[in-house]
Symmetry: C2
Subunit: 497 residues, 2 copies
């Protein structure tokens, strides 16, 4: 058999197994019967063992390494290198440690829930220390330059370094932290909060109809997607012809689902626009968490909280929920969806304070992996940083250091990509404005040109370019966070000042 | 590694891969976006290649054969033998022929659809001949005793023979064919047809509520199951904690969904009651198509079309659909759901004529595989048999020989199990009556004892007993079709005579 044919066969198997795993997980999130979970867990365990075996025990790495650049096309070569990169990360971890870590994560999740419920960090600390210890060993296995935390960042945002993030967050700290206090004092901000726009009862069935309308309005193709319901909104793609989104319905709050749908649409449209020759290959997904998040945040915030976007469709919202929105002007609606709050919970944070929540986590993770602080110090330092960045101190651990699931899952280095995504999106937006008459298009209810620009410059490439290449080739410059901080300050000043 | 541990590991992989495949298929049937199908098809193809590899290329058969009975427990031994039986069936087919057959089936399905649409058998005949030719080779590979058709029957109903089926269908032919004409002449039958009970509009949302009510009434546990929607109703289990059912909603006819739900519940409850030590192993499913169908037909027909079953819940149907059923008495409702018709389409056939539809197919398949008739003769012979058994002649092929998908899928020997299931269910019913006061329980809306009897005697064993053992151990005798023919004639005479 031709070497590429053999490699492709192995790639297909890995892709099919990933599809299977994700389909089972998707099913669990969107409706699998509750008592089926333990047995589905066993099935997933078996599939993951088989996947690991396919990756590591059948000479795949040797096969990839034996292939010369001259034997394959340029894109095939990139596929080989991407798979090799992932494979190398796994292979560097001794199999028994890998298994032990996966065991630990099961305990860890339980301990985190327990500690959160009891408001007692000491119930989680010993397990978290073990998780961190494993991550430190992982860093050693992977190797790193300059800063150990870079090894973790690389898993979510290939090539991203502490040096770059330090510049980014310094900019955020210098500009957004003081601006937050200024903004909160604006009379218009105080007035819109007092007005309590958008209260009422929003029946699920009606919300569902509105969400389908909204998804179609932004260009979601229901013949290549699905809008399902889950406890936490997420998106999941299986190919460039099948990228699904989920939402949840809170009958006291329709905005929650509106912005979830716009957010997840951004993730889905990225996956749906990946080129035909990349889909279902090692290059067939979004290139990094940060670039992915830039697309979701773009539709959720930059587009989805703008006046031009809502002007042509706000009447639909009013028609669906006349009791809550019949008397609310478009202007007040826009102000209400851009209200800024000093809040404790990251996932509920507004566009402006969101990066401050991330900064708390970035500081702590970086220090932790540079041995500058200990696990035990996390609750206290968390509160200090919340006070410094947001001006508030959480009263409970559930509102503080224990609010996120990530650390219990061993995900360190993930959080920064959330803020980075917003920052990337502002930079893309800055370029997009030069190519597309965004306001005119939005006012006409037409997102075709906007999405086409993103598809052409970002989506289609999948992982065939690096995040840095995507940014440079799209915007003509390297990542520059001042687009983001300027965008935020300009936007809120214009709106509320 | 211990030999059993190694075997169990391999069994787990096969089970997990089957789970994955079935989950993907289930998703396709219950809502996957339409344009995702071609790519999902590729994924399924890859998974099936991997499955085949796991079955045949990694020394599994040798591993199983190397294991001595003394090395394992009795139940482990049965698992090994069951897997070996399945493996042997696959291994006997040369790999390239197996692949060619799978290719052929793709063409075959298209040709069948084409021929059906054009009402032209000659468009399908050449492909069907190839399918039959492959099946004949398959029979030779598998080997058989007495009759070549036995090799095909064994795939769906292990141990079933033409000799047994001939006795069964002779009984049906002798008693049901003449009884049908007698029954159609009963004034009560004519009257209920004229009354046109159950016409109206049945909104989907209301039907869904009724179906959930009904499923709960018969004991379906929604924490271990799910009621989804699909083009054709089916059931799919993933473990004894996860057996799902689907239905479809026709807004002009609520009965269609009612009896689909009861039918699929029978399949699901079988799978849900399989013993804990058998689930997710080679013994962890229903033992045969016939026994499976006996459970679905039992709840659909014997229970689900009886007066005692409906008496305590008919008011609910009336409350959901007062316009259609408010004025219909329980007696008329029962008569209406037991109406008998000379009809062309098997899947729409009533309880009495159903086996006659099957008999047409049995006769033809048996003759085909005994070289007594040719593929070209099928349409004409089909019509002759329809006339002889049901007293009607189809006007089109879609109402005749081309109505079923089965032959285009290479499924020969499958049809008889449908009739056999009904016959088994009557025999089980005959025994059940001696142990459970069925009418009293049904009138009290309590199916616990009824289902417990089936669980104890049939369900729990999975594939750890043969179909013949299940029948003998439950009823104290071998399969005897006179229970079925007597049940049918008694029932309809009592109801309409």
């Amino acid at each position: 058999m031709n070497k590429w044919t053999e490699i492709k066969k192995r790639m297909d198997i890995l892709d099919a197994m990933e599809h299977a795993r994700n389909k089972i997980l998707y099913d669990m999130e969107t409706g699998a019967p509750s008592k089926s979970f333990p047995k589905i867990g066993k099935t997933l365990e078996t599939l993951s063992r088989l996947y690991h075996e396919q990756m590591t025990e059948l000479g795949l790495l040797e096969l990839l390494q034996s292939c010369e650049k001259s034997e394959v096309s340029e894109i095939q070569w990139k596929m080989i290198k991407e798979l090799e990169r992932n494979l190398n990360k796994i292979i560097k971890i001794p199999a028994d440690e890998y298994a032990a870590f996966n065991q630990l994560l099961i305990t860890s999740h339980g301990k985190w829930l327990e500690a959160k419920k009891a408001d007692d960090f000491s119930l989680f600390a010993p397990t978290l220390k073990e998780v961190v210890a494993f991550q430190k060993k992982y860093i050693e296995y992977q190797g790193y330059e300059a800063n150990p935390y870079n090894a973790l960042l690389d898993d979510y945002e290939p090539g991203l370094t502490v040096a770059e993030l330090d510049v980014f967050f310094a900019d955020v700290k210098a500009k957004i932290v003081p601006f937050l206090q200024e903004l909160l004092a604006y009379p218009k901000m105080k007035a819109i909060k007092k007005a309590q726009v958008g209260k009422g009862h929003f029946p699920k069935a009606k919300q569902k109809e509105l969400m389908v309308f909204l998804a179609k309005h932004v260009g979601y193709d229901f013949e290549r997607g699905q809008l399902a319901e889950s406890a936490h909104p997420f998106s999941q793609s299986f190919s460039n012809d099948d990228a699904r989104i989920t939402t949840r319905y809170d009958e006291r709050d329709v905005q929650s689902s509106i912005f979830s749908v716009l957010h997840e649409f951004g993730h889905a449209i990225y996956e749906l626009n990946i080129a035909e020759d990349l889909t279902m290959t090692p290059l067939g997904g979004g290139v990094s968490m940060g670039i992915h998040e830039s697309q979701s945040r773009f539709y959720e915030n930059i587009i989805g909280r703008s006046t031009s976007f809502w002007k042509p469709i706000y009447a639909a919202v009013q028609a669906y929920f006349p009791e809550s929105y019949g008397d609310v002007t478009l202007e007040d609606f826009i102000l209400s969806i851009n209200t800024v709050e000093q809040s404790y919970i990251r996932v509920e944070a507004d566009e402006l304070t969101y990066p401050l929540h991330i900064m708390v986590r970035y500081d702590l993770e970086k220090q932790l992996f540079n041995d500058e602080i200990t696990v035990e110090q996390l609750p206290e330092l968390w509160n200090q940083k919340m006070e410094a960045y947001l001006g508030i101190t959480p009263a409970t651990l559930a509102e503080g250091v224990l609010q996120d699931i990530h650390w219990s899952q061993g995900s360190f280095g993930y959080f920064p990509t959330y803020a980075l995504g917003s920052a990337y999106s502002a930079q893309f937006y800055h370029t997009l404005e030069k190519h597309v008459d965004i306001n005119t298009d939005l006012l006409a209810g037409d997102l075709t040109n906007i999405t086409a620009f993103l598809a052409e410059n970002i989506h289609q490439y999948g992982k065939s370019k690096t995040p840095k290449e995507i940014i440079f080739d799209t915007t003509g410059e390297s990542f520059d966070s001042t687009h983001y901080t300027s965008y935020l300050i300009d936007k809120y000043k214009k709106m509320f000042g």
